[in-house]
């Protein structure tokens, strides 16, 4: 009798201890996040700090989880349930339902609702022909000019290479060959042996490209990193009038890409599944990388509807080269106008 009494106290005790421990961990995380937010508001830089969770994420089959999430959210919902589910989603992730192009009942699944189009004139395109517009709804994480070394800072203490993000950039090689004369002036001590690799190295070391016409301005390479929250409009538009010459698809991992992940997982954008479009605009080179995440794993390209991303593979080698396609006619490619819809991020 005394043993059974003891057990009846033991189980609730252990359960209580677990609940208290989980509660404490959650409270600690909320406290840490709040402190980080306060520090960031004061202008403090977030620092790179790999943690156990990031290591654990590497062991998880995130691509399979992503595809399962995609099939789950792709299930057709009963009409009566649809507005409730989408309103709950909108409340949780601060989406503006008034902008949706169709009544909520017409989106058959959460997946379909997620890539919804917007009512006309919800996103007016800035009329100034000299301005470069935002291709997405999101938050500006980083921007600036690429300096020598061609690295973008993920967070303080960790940077990733632009050439790894975009793949072997034909632009840089071509420009290096075109500007061989000017580059050799800039770097007088560099031997001119006609070897492509050496010009590639020069281009990486000095991203500034001199125009052959001395009256024209010098050109630099700039970057801008934009993060899309789960509740944001998830279609990608053209930032300028440009010609898309090539597309690269990197079949990679699918780590989350939230603020916490950028602080704890190194090379996040270079390791994740992504589609890179590369081409030319009025001022020269233009490239756009659309990077997937666990919940939003696939990228649909409207200029190439046959492209499929986040597909199951028997063995995924992260070092394998990207699948590349050069758009026809070569040298002209696909012409896009500023504001044109290019792609969409899909769930799973």
């Amino acid at each position: 009798s005394s043993r059974s009494e003891g057990n009846s106290y033991l189980v609730p005790g252990a359960t209580m201890a677990t609940i208290v421990m989980l509660g404490a961990l959650h409270a600690r995380r909320l406290y840490d996040d709040k402190k980080l937010e306060e520090a960031r508001d004061k202008g403090a830089e977030l620092e790179f700090q790999p943690d156990v969770k990031a290591t654990f994420l590497r062991l998880l089959p995130l691509r399979s989880i992503s595809r399962f999430w995609g099939s789950l959210t792709g299930m057709e919902l009963p009409i009566w349930l649809r507005p409730h589910v989408y309103r709950a989603w909108a409340r949780a992730f601060h989406s503006n339902l008034e902008e949706a192009a169709k009544p909520l009942e017409e989106y058959a699944s959460l997946r379909e609702f997620f890539v919804r189009t917007l009512k006309e004139d919800c996103r007016p395109i800035h009329s100034d022909p000299c301005c470069l517009i935002s291709p997405v709804d999101g938050t500006v994480l980083r921007f600036g000019e690429l300096k020598e070394g061609m690295m973008i800072e993920q967070v303080k203490g960790f940077s990733y290479s632009v050439s790894s993000l975009l793949g072997t950039s034909s632009f840089l090689t071509v420009k290096a060959e075109e500007d061989v004369q000017q580059e050799s002036i800039v770097q007088e001590k560099t031997p001119r042996d006609g070897n492509k690799k050496s010009w590639w190295r020069i281009a990486l070391a000095s991203p500034k490209v001199r125009d052959p016409m001395p009256t024209c301005p010098m050109k630099g390479l700039f970057y801008c990193v934009l993060y899309l929250h789960p509740g944001d409009y998830h279609r990608i538009h053209s930032p300028v009038d440009w010609n898309v010459l090539a597309r690269r698809h990197f079949s990679g991992r699918l780590f989350p890409v939230n603020e916490r992940a950028t602080r704890t997982i190194g090379n996040l954008y270079v390791e994740n599944e992504r589609v890179v479009l590369e081409g030319r605009w009025e001022e020269g080179f233009m490239a756009m990388a659309a990077i997937g995440a666990t919940n939003i794993g696939s990228i649909e390209l409207f200029i190439e509807p046959a492209l499929r991303t986040n597909r199951p593979k028997k063995k995924l080698l992260h070092s394998e080269p990207p699948e590349e396609r050069i758009y026809e006619p070569e040298g002209v490619g696909v012409m896009l106008k500023k504001g044109d819809e290019i792609a969409a991020f899909n769930m799973g």
């Binding site: 960031r40 630099g220 970057y223 934009l226 659309a290």
Partner: protein, 42 residues
Amino acid sequence: STVVLVFQAPIPKLAGDKSASSEFKFSVGRGDRIRVGEPLGR
């Protein structure tokens, strides 16, 4: 999900040359919320 843009644009010819009117400038700040169609830079 994340989008990274990399593009070429004019810069001042000489270091410290602020007179160049054709120089590219971002019109956003870090942490700003931005929507499709709004200017990123000029």
